[in-house]
Every structure is written in structure tokens, then in C-alpha cells.
Symmetry: C2
Subunit: 255 residues, 2 copies
């Protein structure tokens, strides 16, 4: 479910669509459209927020808008482009508080948490593929704001980009894991039920003599988190390590 390909139609059309607020399309002939591209996008987001990305189908979306499925193709070149528009819309809506006098570490933590919150509010956002990301106003504003967090740290431009990419990519990966785990829970039994149900075979097969470390560490981690995987803990742990790693780089550049 990770995703969908983008770039079906004319890429210029997609770009124009992304920047539709800054560069409005010229007046057109024919009947007035029943609604706007924004209506389509926000409706799709509402569906995705409430029922997951799988619920966003062209038929369903058209139905919600009171229109036939094919009518959507007058607003949007295809589904992939719609997903890009949805994502850029949410990027645009992210908070971008002034960094003020906070140090780079606090700034970067804030950036990571803003991304985490985005995925918490819109889990589908982590699932939208971003090879050749949607170069819209939302992404630009987000990138600009995030770069400001490491401006003036002594990192060069390439390192600044790499650092931000690392933080953002880590956060998305964490959100993907969390979404997958949640989906597995919803679909099947609860975590505890699952382990109990499969205990007979697992006991037979997960021989502690054969997998000593995995047994010891796995049970320790499971007991500490109350579940096999705790993505909130993984986020906190990973972010702290990454920040420490960036700190080492910054110290190196300054010495």
C-alpha cells in the first residue's frame, strides 16, 4: 500500500495545478465548473483522514461530490496527481513558527515533531510516494522553513540538505512503521491475543538456544514497551541519536 506512481500526464499541467493559487488559470469557456480543485482535494483529504487512503477511490470521491467518476478528470489529470495535491496541501498547512533564538538542536527537534504530528493527523501522508516529490508551494515552504533550522550552524549547503533529508526521512519511516503496525492490529486480533494464539508453535520454533540474543533482547523490549514494537519510543530514541550525530558533525565543522 505504500503508494502510487505519479506523473501520468503532462508534468507541466501538474505543476500548474500545484501552484494554482499563485498562478491562477486563465478564464475559460463552457459551463461553470460545479466546484473547484480545492473542493476536490479537501474532500479527498477528508475521506483519507476518516477512512484511510484505500477509501479514496475516484468513484467514492465523485460520489461524495455528487458527480460522476469521470467528471473528476476535468479537475485533475489522474489519481496520482490528486495524491500529490493532497500531500502538498497538508505540507502547506503545517505550522512554521519563527525559530527565534532557539539553538539548532531545539529547532531540529521542533522540525521533527512537526513532521511527526503531520503523520499523526494524516497517516495516509506517509503512504503517498514521493520519488520526484510534488514541487508545490507547500513543499517549498516546508523545505525553506526546515532549512532555516540548520542555517548558521557551520554546515555547508550540501550538509544542510542532507541533515534535513535525514530528519524528515527518518520521521516518515517511523510513521510508516506505526501505520503498518496499526493496520495489522486493526485487521487481526490484538497483539496479546496474537502471541497467545501462536504460542504453541512459537515455543517450539523460537528456540532460545538457537536465538539467544533475539530471545533475551526481544522479550526485554517487548516487556518494556508492552508490545512487540513501540513506534513512539523508536521515534524518541532515533531522533536523539540523529541529533547527537549531527552535533558531532557541527562540532567538527566548528573546530
Amino acid at each position: 500500500m505504500t503508494a502510487d506512481r505519479t506523473g501520468a500526464g503532462d508534468p507541466a499541467r501538474t505543476l500548474a495545478l500545484l501552484w494554482r493559487h499563485e498562478v491562477p488559470l486563465p478564464r475559460r469557456r463552457g459551463p461553470r465548473p460545479a466546484f473547484s480543485v480545492d473542493d476536490v482535494v479537501t474532500r479527498a483529504i477528508t475521506i483519507a483522514d476518516g477512512e484511510g487512503l484505500d477509501a479514496v477511490t475516484m468513484r467514492r470521491l465523485a460520489g461524495d461530490l455528487g458527480v460522476s467518476p469521470m467528471a473528476l478528470y476535468g479537475y485533475v489529470p489522474g489519481k496520482a496527481e490528486l495524491l500529490d495535491l493532497m500531500l502538498d496541501d497538508r505540507y502547506a498547512a503545517m505550522p512554521r513558527p519563527a525559530h527565534g533564538r532557539a539553538g539548532w538542536r531545539r529547532r531540529l527537534r521542533t522540525v521533527a515533531e512537526a513532521n511527526r504530528d503531520l503523520y499523526a493527523a494524516h497517516p495516509w501522508a506517509a503512504l503517498v510516494s514521493t520519488g520526484r516529490p510534488p514541487l508545490g508551494p507547500g513543499l517549498m515552504a516546508k523545505y525553506e522553513h526546515e532549512l532555516a533550522a540548520v542555517e548558521g550552524t557551520g554546515l555547508d549547503d550540501v550538509e544542510m540538505d542532507a541533515a534535513i533529508t535525514l530528519i524528515v526521512s527518518f520521521t516518515r519511516a517511523n510513521a510508516l512503521d506505526a501505520a503498518a503496525a496499526r493496520a495489522a492490529l486493526t485487521a487481526g486480533r490484538t497483539d496479546a491475543e496474537w502471541w497467545e494464539e501462536n504460542a504453541p508453535l512459537l515455543d517450539q520454533v523460537l528456540d532460545p538456544a538457537r536465538y539467544p540474543l533475539a530471545s533475551r533482547v526481544g522479550t526485554a523490549a517487548g516487556e518494556a514497551h508492552g508490545a512487540a514494537h513501540d513506534s513512539a519510543h523508536a521515534f524518541a530514541f532515533g531522533l536523539e541519536r540523529i541529533l547527537d550525530g549531527i552535533a558531532a558533525l557541527i562540532d567538527d565543522r566548528r573546530s
Copy 2:
């Protein structure tokens, strides 16, 4: 395209399937099966390796095996389980060289590179969803071997698990980015063509006065890598930062 849900059928059946080599199924009546579960799995892997995960459909796989689509359901409960089996098979085949006397940093780097190589050889592996991962012999052996890389560093069990999870999750995220970027390239024009084609609108809209940092850093990074995103560089950079971050933690535990 990230993924597919798992756990359609009886979870015990899936587990038994994963461990089919250690706990063989009892002899059965009726006609001899035309092939084995392994045949199905390796055939599916061949298709995925050569033509991508999308090419792995039940009909296509059945065709390659010379059998009707529904026949597969005698070997495997459903497609989601098939994907789990494919993934665990590749996990099982990963190299697990003895860590020897190498320090933890070299060990962890080796672990990360082994994961990177897995995804390089089988890009589809990054796309298979792993919420509630396939608890098969491949994953267990992989986890056991990877934990050994941080054994004896002074980290406690929970930290060991978190450190390995961070490395593995980072590497998978990097592979996902790389796969998405590659798909975008294959599907559309090349990167340079794309930028040229969209230059008119981009020039109009990517105002350096409005996005000063993004413009400066973005072009610097683009020129340094020869492309908008270079996942090999992102891997090297991210891994180094994460290792430095783990080093800080280990130093802290030892003092």
C-alpha cells in the same frame, strides 16, 4: 505502492508455512502436489526481481508455474502471506559473516550495508509491509545476527533493540526513497529533461526572494549530486550520523 496488508487467514497457518523447513507438514492424501511452496515463493521472487512487485499477480505467477490461478490457494492462504514468505526467504539468504574481532562501529556498518545490498538486489523487499513482521526463520536469524553487532557495548537490552531497529529502519527508508525515485525516472522523462521542460513555470514560481534558503541549498545539493536526490549519498551521510549518535550513547553508558 507501499504495500499490502497481511494476516488474511489463520495466523497459525502462516506461521507454520514460514517454518515449513523445520516443522514439515504431515504426509497427506490425494494427488501429489505438482510443486512445493518453495517453488511458488522462488518463482514469485524471480518475477519481482525482474519486473517489479506489481508484476507479481496471482494470475501471472500461476501462469509461470503452468497452473490455474486458484491452484495457488492450495499452497498459500493469500497474496499477503505469499509476500511475507518471499520476504522471509530473502532475509534467510542474507550473508551473516561472523563479526570476529571488529569493533561495534564496523559491525554496525556491515549490518547496514547488508540491508542496503538486500534492497539493491530486491527493491520490492522495501515495499512489503511489515507491521507485525513475518516472524519466520529468516527474520529471526537476521535479528539474532544484527543484535550480535551491538552485544557487549554496554547498551542494555532495550537500547540494543532500539539501535538495531534504527539502523534497519533507516536503511529501508533510504531504499524506499531510492525505489520511488527510480520509478519516477523510468515512468517519465529523465531528470534533466524534466527540469528543462518545466523551467518556464518553475522560474516564475520558485522565487529566490521568497525561498532564499531553498533556492541556494537546493541548487547546491543538485549540482553536487548531479540530480535532485542522491540516495547513495543520503545513505552514507545518514549512516555516519546515526553511528556517531550511537557512539555518544555508548560512551555515555561506559562512563
